[in-house]
Structure formats: structure tokens, C-alpha cells
């Protein structure tokens, strides 16, 4: 496991971990919803707003030039974080994963798909990777198909090969379930998609913050992600896409900064990425997200992934001793990221969450924007504990003791 010295050092980077909740030391297990922010990110945001908060591009004065340079550096940092070769791909700044998926749905799906085409999804997707495709299907006549889930909410090769076929134009799938932490067999999915000439969109909201990412290796066509889940600010995220696709796609939003020339009755578009970034962007957000990505790269994404795997094994063993806990998702550690969804026999998830809150433990409860997956499991919600680089085995011990205590109270 990452050494305790390392963890202490990491924890001291996150001011929120010095705080309390309900008078208790905070145990923050809601990283699937959003991560805490290190001081370095707050400093980056503060630096922009305090020292050079000018608008970018076309400002012929020093402060604007400084802001433009910081914004451009932020994009370059994201290239390094994601392993993007700018000759082959591009990172568009968006408000986050949801907007990134909508960008693809509107700028690609609405313009390219037709009644003969199929979009392949799964029932474990976050609503943000289902609802946009429902709209695309409704407007274009394309069909939605779903790779079947096993009882434990995983995918099998037979189901993948049976669902992705010659009419498939897009496979849009999560890189890591926000409910169960399940990491689907991306290589198999990509292989089948390629075999039929389909594109692959990876919903990286959970995956990108917990795994080393190299888009060349992932070999997806679109990768959507959020800054706030990787220690960055809220309201900023991105879309990686192959450059050739972005050049073919129509803009998503229209207005200033995305144009080449504007005439009274027609306009032409700027090159990518500006073509997809109309209006003043979230400059501070991009700078803050880049500071977060730099921070994570310094810690080491492989170290973070290894630390979380070790926390997973510890958590799994601890929960296995509680016979009233039902865990959802894969049994195999190798298929699970640092997310555990569970229910306590006869106790509603919200009630568990409220009593954990009383003991200083922050978890998420409910259906986690994944109602089709809840329907698959035959439940309405779960208690979800999700880890990140600053969590510790001691916190897991505290969480488990809190579960035991509250179960004794509520049952």
C-alpha cells in the first residue's frame, strides 16, 4: 500500500480533510460525486482571479496575454494528462462530462445518424450517457441497443459480440460504473466496434480520475471527463476527440470566438478546438483543472490506482464480515474501481446516509443517476462509498464500525 508517510503528505494537501463534520473528523467517501480540492488548485484559481483575470484572445495588453498563455498551457497540460498527440486529437473544454456527451450527441449524432443506424449502450450508464442518446434516437430514427448485463451488473463477451453489429455506428459506454465501480472490458468492446466500423465514446467521468489514461492506448474516438472529479474545480471538463472527427463535425454552440468570419447572412467557423468553444470559456476553471491534473501526475496516476486497489481489497474484506450488507457489482477486485454500492438489510439507503453523516462519514445515497441499473438490481437506491488518493484503511475501519452501530440502532 502507498506508505503512510505518502498518505499523510497527500492528506495535508487537502484543507477540507482538516475539517470536521457534525463535530467528528471528516471521512470523505463521496469521491464518486466530486473530489476534494488540493491547496494548489485553489491557489491557481486565486492567482488568476487576483492577478490576471482578463479575458483571453485578442486582448493586446499584458494581462490578457498572460491569461491567454495560462489558458493555452492548461490545454497542453491536459494533453499530457491524457496522452493526447495534438496532431491526432484534441481536447475541447466543456462544462463537464454531461456537456461533452451532449456535444457529441448534437454535433455528431444528430447530423450523422439515421433510421438504419444503431447506438449501443448498457443499462449501467449514468443518465448523462443515456438521455442524450434517447434524444438522438428520437430525432434521427436511429435505434438504441443495450449490451445485456449479468446478474452482478457486468458484461460478458457473448453479450458484447451479439449486440454490436453491422448497423452499430456508435458504442457509448462508461469507463467505470459510477454505481458499482465496475470497469467493463474496454478492449473487447473496442475490438467489436472497430470490426463493424463503429465509433467508441467513453464516459470517463469516473475512469479518468482513477486510472492512468493514454488515449492512444485506450483507442477511443471520444472521451468525456469532468474536472471536479479529478481534484479540479466544478463547471469545467473536457472532451477528447480524434481530430479528423472534430474537423468533420458541425459546431455545438454558436457565437463569439468560434468563428472565422461573420457576415450578415452567413458565417464560417474557426479551427478546432475554438470551433467548439463559443463565448468566453471558463478560463479559471481550465487553469484550475490543469493545476489538478499536474498535481495528480506528480503523485502518479499509477500510484493512485494501486492505492485504490489496495483500499478496495481492504474494504471488500471488511464488508464481507457483515452478513446484513448486500454489495452490488463485480466480485473480482480486478474489475472494480474504488466504488462500493451496498444496502443494509431492511434499512433504506437515505437513513443509512443520514446516520453516517452523524458520525462524520460522507457517502452518497440514492439511485446515483442510474435508474436503469437500479431497475436491473431490483432496488431503488444504494449507499455508495467511493475512494480517492487521500483515503485510508483507518477510515474504512471507522466506516465499518459506523455501519455496525447504525444497523444496531435501526434494526
Amino acid at each position: 500500500m502507498t506508505s503512510s508517510t505518502d498518505i499523510i503528505g497527500i492528506r495535508s494537501d487537502f484543507p477540507a480533510l482538516n475539517g470536521t463534520m457534525r463535530g467528528k473528523d471528516l471521512v470523505y467517501f463521496d469521491n464518486g460525486a466530486t473530489s476534494l480540492k488540493p491547496q494548489i488548485v485553489m491557489d491557481a484559481l486565486d492567482g488568476y482571479y487576483r492577478e490576471y483575470s482578463a479575458n483571453i484572445h485578442r486582448g493586446v495588453y499584458e494581462m490578457s496575454e498572460r491569461a491567454t498563455a495560462a489558458f493555452d498551457r492548461a490545454r497542453e497540460t491536459m494533453y499530457r494528462f491524457l496522452g493526447v498527440d495534438p496532431e491526432k486529437g484534441e481536447v475541447i473544454f466543456t462544462r463537464g462530462t454531461t456537456e461533452s456527451i451532449n456535444l457529441v450527441a448534437y454535433a455528431w449524432g444528430m447530423n450523422v445518424l439515421g433510421p438504419e443506424d444503431e447506438i449501443v449502450l448498457t443499462a449501467m450508464e449514468h443518465h448523462s450517457n443515456i438521455v442524450p442518446w434517447q434524444q438522438v434516437a428520437r430525432r434521427t430514427g436511429a435505434s438504441l441497443r443495450f449490451i445485456p448485463l449479468t446478474e452482478e451488473g457486468t458484461l460478458e463477451e457473448d453479450g458484447i459480440t451479439a449486440t454490436i453489429g453491422p448497423r452499430t455506428r456508435l458504442v457509448a459506454i462508461t469507463g467505470m460504473s459510477n454505481v458499482t465501480g465496475y470497469v467493463p472490458p474496454l478492449k473487447t468492446i473496442r475490438r467489436e466496434a472497430r470490426r463493424h466500423g463503429a465509433l467508441v465514446l467513453l464516459d470517463g467521468a469516473q475512469y479518468v480520475s482513477h486510472h492512468p489514461v493514454d488515449v492512444q492506448d485506450l483507442d477511443c474516438d471520444f472521451l468525456a471527463f469532468s474536472g471536479h472529479k479529478l481534484c479540479g474545480p466544478t463547471g469545467i471538463g473536457g472532451l477528447y476527440a480524434r481530430r479528423t472527427l472534430l474537423e468533420q463535425m458541425e459546431p455545438f454552440h454558436f457565437g463569439g470566438d468560434m468563428i472565422r468570419e461573420v457576415h450578415l447572412r452567413e458565417s464560417t467557423w474557426a479551427n478546432v478546438p475554438e470551433k467548439f468553444e463559443a463565448g468566453t470559456p471558463n478560463i479559471a476553471g481550465a487553469i484550475g483543472m490543469a493545476a489538478a491534473a499536474e498535481y495528480l501526475m506528480n503523485v502518479g496516476m499509477e500510484s493512485i490506482a494501486r492505492h485504490e486497489r489496495e483500499l478496495n481489497a481492504y474494504m471488500y474484506d471488511a464488508l464481507s464480515t457483515l452478513d446484513y450488507v448486500t454489495l452490488y457489482g463485480p466480485v473480482s477486485d480486478s474489475e472494480r474501481g474504488g466504488i462500493f454500492s451496498m444496502n443494509l438489510e431492511g434499512v433504506h439507503a437515505h437513513d443509512v446516509g443520514s446516520l453516517l453523516d452523524q458520525q462524520g462519514v460522507a457517502v452518497r445515497t440514492g439511485f446515483h443517476c442510474a435508474q436503469p441499473l437500479m431497475a436491473h438490481f431490483g432496488i431503488t437506491g444504494t449507499v455508495r462509498a467511493s475512494f480517492y488518493l487521500y483515503n485510508t484503511p483507518d477510515e474504512i475501519d471507522l466506516f465499518v464500525r459506523a455501519l455496525e452501530r447504525l444497523y444496531g440502532i435501526l434494526r
Binding site: H348, A349, H350, D351, G366, F367, T380, G381
Partner: protein, 177 residues
Amino acid sequence: MRERESLESEDPSTEWRELLISLVKRYHPGERRDLSGATLLRREVNRSCGDTVTVYRRAEESPPREPVLLLEVQGCAVCKASAAIAEKVLPLLPATQGGELCRDVLRCIEGKDPGDRLRIPSELPEDLARDLLDLLAVRRAPARRRCATLGWEAALAALALTPPDPSGTLPRHETRE
């Protein structure tokens, strides 16, 4: 309606979770009821968690038993306790007064003014009045307010669909344990 001024549950130091546990113990869900022949009047969903409260009007039987509102809950302890209190309270009141109470409960739970007082109808027995007041402690947990209001919203909507009986009173139903 008379107003109760001195309320233990209004004490800011009261820990609402303790009240929640207390309500859970007192309104622990019993066996599933027979809803055959019942008319579905209204279904409300908590969109943040998917919990539901469904209001039925029980079927008339022979010999005639007057219809009564039944609130079936798929939800958390707060939702169940709140709906169970509504189900016990509303039959004790004339329909219009029941509607007023629903609105008053919703106002007190959702309201931003912590000084809001619930006007308790004098028809309510002391224990039910106390439980109703205890329920207001959920105001201190903004994320759980909707759990408590769901049943009252559903009941209010259902009351609007239920034709008042000639006496203007919703029938009393037998105690359920």
C-alpha cells in the same frame, strides 16, 4: 385550529436524527395491506431518490365500509413515518380541514422561516399531535425535507380528487399496527 406555542421539537438543540429513530420505531412498516379493489388516486415520486408514495381510496365493501385514503410507501424511514402520520391524522378531520393541514405541514417543512408554527387541529389526540410536531425536526436536514413532504403532497392531491362525503368528513379508519 389552535396553535401550540411551546414545543420540545422546536428546540434548536433537538437532534433530528434521534427523532427520526424514534419515529421509525413507532411507525415501523407493518405487513403489506390488501389493496385489491382500491382506487389509485395519486402517485408522487421523490426524483432525487426514486421513492414513491401512492394514495389509494379503499374499495367500498358489503356491508358498506366508507372509503378511506391509504398511503403506500416505497421509501425511507422518514417518508414512511411521515406518510403513516398523515394516514392516521387525515381521517380525523373534515376534508377541507385535512387539506389545510396538508398545506400547513408542507409550509412548515419547506418554509425558510424556522419560526413557522404548525396549527394543530384540536381534533387530534395528543400523541398524534406530538408525532406531527416531532416530524417538523426534519427541517434541520434540508436534503431530507422532501422525504417528509412526499406523503403530504400526495395526500393533498388525492383529497382534491376525493368527493367529500355528505358530512364533509373523511371516514375514520381502524387503527393499524
